[in-house]
Symmetry: C3
Subunit: 133 residues, 3 copies
């Protein structure tokens, strides 16, 4: 297996960060296999969605409906509503596996790999890419 | 890695299509390994649920609660509420990995592999199966 | 591939059971690769969340909001609201893949692997671990 970690600056507000370019660069020259995109954090997830047409904004609306940022949560340190952030990875998992064909992730035309980070308190996140062929 | 793409007709209404048979056929004779089921589309997902007892219908009720088909979404081309379709893969990912033992996906008795496609505008979908042993 | 099945007692009420220790023990000595954690059941899922700080309790609150345990579901055998249990794996998938580095799952500091089992009717569950290096 080949594996590599890189950092992403997500800033101090909820962020959907497109990391497709990094995944593509990692796969280049690797032939056929599977690439796993993994976020080693308890308040972030990875998703495959279209970016640039509004869905990244819409995603927060949907997440706020599912996981309201209020005082209902037992887990309640940090920013108000931070307990919601801790539930995000149960619904948007921090791991996704993508087939790689001839050194390219076999994504559809409109699919991008995004890091979903609701967390206001951690401005830098790590992502681990792993390739098995 | 061995990989293969097939098409599924999902029609012009929300569809949960059982593709277990295709996954089983692909794994036959391949020994032990992992099979990845991947949908290269931005408005569809893959799930492992029981089919034939009503959960396929229930799933749309749950999805409509999470992602209402109305005009709240920024991403708003196509059919009314289509922005909701674009969020589906964030919650029902378009990728699932299943262990394969002796050429058979090691699914539980009541688990089926289903393509979840809310999209009214794309009647045919592709699915990529990839095996690594 | 190396693969192994173990049992978890989840009891007769909704349970979030930490299985990190079992995953770590399975990976020990295996070098670099990917470990897949798979639950061969139609009413359970696997998640990577922080445990011990309240999120395991909060998770049921979020699940009850998404999948209310009432008579709205078509799939309706067993305990009241059991149809909701059948939808859980669509949103919290029964499969997660984790990178393994030098025989250790490359989890973040606050990430635990948990079995999420809402089902009151099945007190014992199986989990399959599979390693590919």
């Amino acid at each position: 297996m080949e594996t590599q970690v890189f950092e992403v600056r997500t800033g101090d507000r909820p962020a959907v960060v497109d990391i497709t370019r990094q995944v593509e660069a990692f796969c280049r020259g690797k032939g056929d296999g599977l690439v796993n995109v993994f976020v080693p954090h308890a308040t972030a997830g990875v998703a495959l969605i279209e970016t640039g047409a509004g869905s990244d904004l819409d995603l927060w609306k949907a997440i706020d409906g599912l996981l309201p940022r209020d005082d209902r949560w037992v887990h309640s340190h940090g920013s108000p509503g931070h307990g919601a952030d801790h539930l995000l990875p149960a619904f948007i998992a921090p791991s996704v596996t993508i087939p790689v064909v001839a050194g390219k992730p076999a994504l559809g035309t409109w699919q991008s790999v995004v890091l979903v980070d609701p967390n206001r308190d951690n401005p830098v996140r790590r992502v681990r890419l792993s390739f098995l062929g």
